[in-house]
């Protein structure tokens, strides 16, 4: 039969660190990419059945929020919301301003619903707080996410973390359409924009 595989590295390629990673790392528990650095997450995402932490900022599901939100009125610590793709905004539109952060989940990176949800949260509902992308957040989608209004990203995918740390997101910085975020125009054609910075 086949020659044996003993002695060969069995790690899947995507997880195997590459040589260049030796110098730049962020602590594994610093999962939030914000303002150009990885930070620890100050928020606790609370599972529906779990008790609310007393002292930590807590992110709740919409279902939990709708059940509990009267009881949260007196709470001093900030509250956040996490939405799954396909969850409607209609029944919490009036509450959005109470959230310091809204997290939108990308359970599969190919599920692009949250790009539209983010657009509506910013453009239609005027949400000014932190909009966070969580779940399968990969380097090639981050520039698109930024344009629709996400400002923080929960990133655990190792190659994406390295790309962010090394400042080498391969992106196209010119745009043919206006986006939710404010971008400097290019020339005189009405919709050309560019990513600044």
């Amino acid at each position: 039969m086949l020659p044996p595989l003993d002695g060969l590295d069995q790690q899947a390629g995507a997880d195997r660190p590459s040589a260049r990673d030796a110098t730049i790392e962020a602590p594994a528990d610093a999962t939030i990419w914000q303002g150009g650095v990885f930070q620890q997450d100050i928020w606790v995402t609370v599972a529906d059945g779990d008790p609310l932490p007393q002292a930590s900022p807590a992110i709740l599901s919409k279902k939990r929020w709708l059940i509990e939100h009267d009881g949260l009125a007196g709470r001093n610590t900030p509250v956040g919301l996490k939405l799954e793709p396909g969850e409607a905004l209609d029944d919490i539109v009036g509450d959005l301003a109470q959230f310091s952060v809204i997290a939108l989940n990308f359970p599969k990176f190919s599920d692009g619903r949250a790009f539209s949800t983010a657009t509506l949260i910013r453009d239609k509902h005027g949400f000014k707080g932190e909009l966070r992308a969580v779940g399968n957040v990969l380097s090639d989608q981050i520039p698109l996410m930024r344009r629709v209004g996400f400002d923080t990203f929960e990133v655990t995918h190792a190659p994406t973390r390295h790309a962010l740390l090394e400042g080498r997101l391969a992106e196209v910085r010119l745009h043919y359409q206006p986006a939710v975020v404010s971008e400097p125009p290019v020339g005189t054609r009405p919709w050309l924009r560019r990513t600044s910075g």
Binding site: M1, L2, P3, L5, Q10, A12, G13, A14
Partner: protein
């Protein structure tokens, strides 16, 4: 095709670099064509092939490995059971009628200067 003859399996995939149809041979090398392809005759051997395929896909040598059922002739010759796999093995059936078809891809030109994003546009010749 008679299904009463025992069928065996070979492992096939597409080579990452050029998408070519390849088969795993006895030395663990991916080759074009069935000559020397390693065959699996038992469930254990099938599992060994599958895990080798997954391993080589993870090592970025091939993509989308899968098993192909073969009929084995008395002289050891292998023929895919499924029609689709016979076409896949043989290449497009109509290449003789394709206008301008050239079998081998010619040598590439010299490495060209990389058009660098961010440089000003040159005036284009008409």
């Amino acid at each position: 095709m008679s299904k009463s003859a025992p069928t065996i399996s070979v492992l096939t995939a597409n080579r990452l670099s050029d998408g070519a149809v390849v088969f795993l041979d006895f030395d663990g090398v991916w080759v074009e064509g069935l000559r020397g392809a390693v065959v699996a005759r038992s469930p254990d051997e099938v599992r060994a092939l599958e895990s080798r395929g997954a391993f080589d896909a993870a090592r970025n040598i091939v993509v989308e490995p899968y098993l192909v059922e073969m009929l084995e002739a008395a002289d050891g010759g292998l023929t895919p059971v499924r029609f689709r796999e016979r076409v896949r093995l043989g290449g497009p059936s109509i290449l003789g009628d394709v206008p301008g078809y050239v079998e081998a891809v010619p040598a590439k030109p010299q490495a060209r200067p990389e058009p660098v994003a961010g440089q000003p546009v040159h005036a284009e010749a008409a």
